[in-house]
Symmetry: C2
Subunit: 362 residues, 2 copies
């Protein structure tokens, strides 16, 4: 191929006192005898380059073990390929499933998930949010409903698509995809009332300062509202310990409830984890489920279906939620390239009672 016959060295010969030893696009271009742009094209849009040139470049890339630096690419192209995801915790099967589903949906589109989690702490949410935004994600996904004002402001200022998931907020920041935790509570109460129970209880964590499970509390609010509407007492709704709940929580809470004079006939647990813990504790106490007490959970965790008796629960498809979020994201990001980002989208994925054997008729 013709190379310019100038006396001064061409650009790609420019020496550099580099700190790192990793090859750059310039090293590849020199080795292949092309300009940096040609290397860039081979890597991003191979058909734009003559096959012969392309092969030469590809060989140079392989020989050097060249891996492009996305930070540099992002800076130039203004596309980072990051999607930010903020979760309360990773050590919850349902949230982990969301992350899993999302990653899958985004994998082909070459987006990379940036995960942060808050440990149910709103101050931490704000800190994490700032860190995330510094990475210039092209969109942000977070568990919805309650944020601090400054957090909301930062979100708005970022000027990227925002999707709130899991909890359907009454005032979404922009897009939302999830279900109503309030509705979960009402549904659970309705279900137990319809089974004919009179003394109905619940177990949840107590709301506690900055570290709180707002989602769980919403479920309890719905639960109590529905009880009241049916003229049932709400004094068997127990707030015990602090979030996040787990097996022990349920065990301790059911013990407390069973010790009461007006022991409940049926109990709704804020999470399957608590519910399973409660069932296990009943086994140990010789209290039969559901004959002596019916127990119902939320979240449809795998373990719930495996215990004896299997747990009646309320199911939300978190993995599908993650995948749908991924779909919406892809759509948002592609049409963002064309026209205005369009209307906020609110999707209720709904919920359903999964009837198993831990609840009988009252």
């Amino acid at each position: 191929m013709p190379r310019s016959a100038q006396i001064n060295p061409p650009a790609e010969t420019k020496p550099a006192r580099r700190t790192s030893q990793r090859p750059t696009i310039r090293d590849v271009s020199r080795l292949a005898g092309v300009s940096r742009m040609t290397v860039s094209r081979v890597l991003s849009d191979p058909d734009m380059v003559l096959p012969a040139t392309r092969e030469r470049v590809l060989k140079a890339v392989a020989d050097l073990g060249y891996v492009p630096d996305r930070a540099a690419g992002s800076l130039s192209s203004r596309r980072t390929g990051f999607i930010a995801l903020m979760l309360p915790t990773l050590t919850n099967a349902n949230f982990a499933a969301v992350a899993h589903g999302l990653t899958e949906a985004l994998r082909e589109a070459e987006y990379h998930l940036l995960i942060a989690y808050t440990d149910y702490d709103m101050a931490e949410e704000e800190r994490q949010l700032r860190n995330l935004l510094a990475r210039r994600p092209e969109a942000i996904v977070l568990t919805g409903a309650v944020h601090r004002r400054t957090a909301t402001r930062m979100l708005l200022a970022a000027d990227i698509p925002v999707i709130e998931i899991a909890d359907l907020p009454s005032q979404p920041i922009e897009h939302a995809i999830g279900f109503s935790n309030y509705q979960v509570g009402r549904t659970a109460a309705r279900y137990l009332i319809d089974r004919g129970f009179e003394r109905i209880g619940a177990i949840a964590a107590s709301p506690d300062g900055d570290v709180a499970d707002h989602r769980g509390e919403e479920r309890m609010r719905g639960f109590e509202d529905e009880l009241r509407l049916s003229r049932r007492a709400t004094d068997l709704v127990l707030r015990h310990g602090s979030a996040p709940v787990s097996f022990h929580h349920g065990a301790a809470a059911i013990r407390e409830l069973l010790a009461r004079d007006d022991r409940p006939q049926a109990v709704f647990a804020v999470s399957d984890l608590s519910a399973v813990g409660a069932v296990m504790e009943c086994q140990r106490l010789g209290v039969r489920v559901p004959e002596d007490v019916s127990i119902m959970g939320f979240g449809d965790f795998e373990i719930g279906g495996e215990i004896n008796p299997p747990l009646t629960t309320i199911h939300v498809d978190f993995r599908a939620l993650g995948q749908r979020t991924g779909g919406m994201l892809l759509d948002l990001l592609s049409r963002n390239a064309e026209a205005g980002s369009g209307e906020p989208r609110i999707v209720d994925v709904g919920l359903r009672v999964v009837e198993r054997a831990s609840v009988k008729d009252g």
Copy 2:
């Protein structure tokens, strides 16, 4: 403050046709009437700047809602603040705990975890690895022991600290922190042999092409070796279904084992998940644990301690593993700034049998 009296506009006045609306360091510098470097200093090393100047800059930052672009910063400083973490899956409580522990350890040092997972697929590991390296992490943590050759080569070429975790590889790439899965198997077998059992079985997933649970298979190898050393038969070691295992796996596998003429007296499950599933299935079948069959698991998942009878298992502290990895990382990255990175470090966090009620003496 004195500004140069040149006719051409000084640098900070330079107009830019920017695509994005987000404020840059230049906007802040203009508003505060200082140079960009001063802004940079206020944000990274505030004490270096006069209090009065600092306040002015901070106000400008707040007024504009300025969030620095880390991609640009990384490019310039050659420090991305990323640590890469590659896991088989996020939907396993123990791996999630590793991620959790690691994040905690790194949080203060302002490192950001880049998580990828392979779904136990080695081809995917390679793809993910390339994506991760393109983000120029300062170190990489991965679940150890088995990698493809090209993956190992990429890791070496990246010239950053590599820590293999969970599984202690026989030939570590560099640093390693974990335990020996082979030893887990031997320990389990030894424990059951010492309890006096003769017919000892095990349940695991069958190794299956590219998608395989090498760690689980290692455990089985150790288990079988120990059985042989004690002249026990290994024909009750059952490979059933495919990884990753869960409750159903254990239920199905124990059914198969119990149906045999030479039904085992004791069974080691490759994971607590399988073990719990097995115990639950026994409950349903009316097979008493441990009277009719003893069951032992691995991983010490929370649920194992909650069921009836509580599960005897082998414990590895994954969260501590994550935290220790974080500590090693911090140390490696700081001393990397000083001298050579030093010797490879291999840490065995060990394991211990947690004796509960699901195993009795044979």
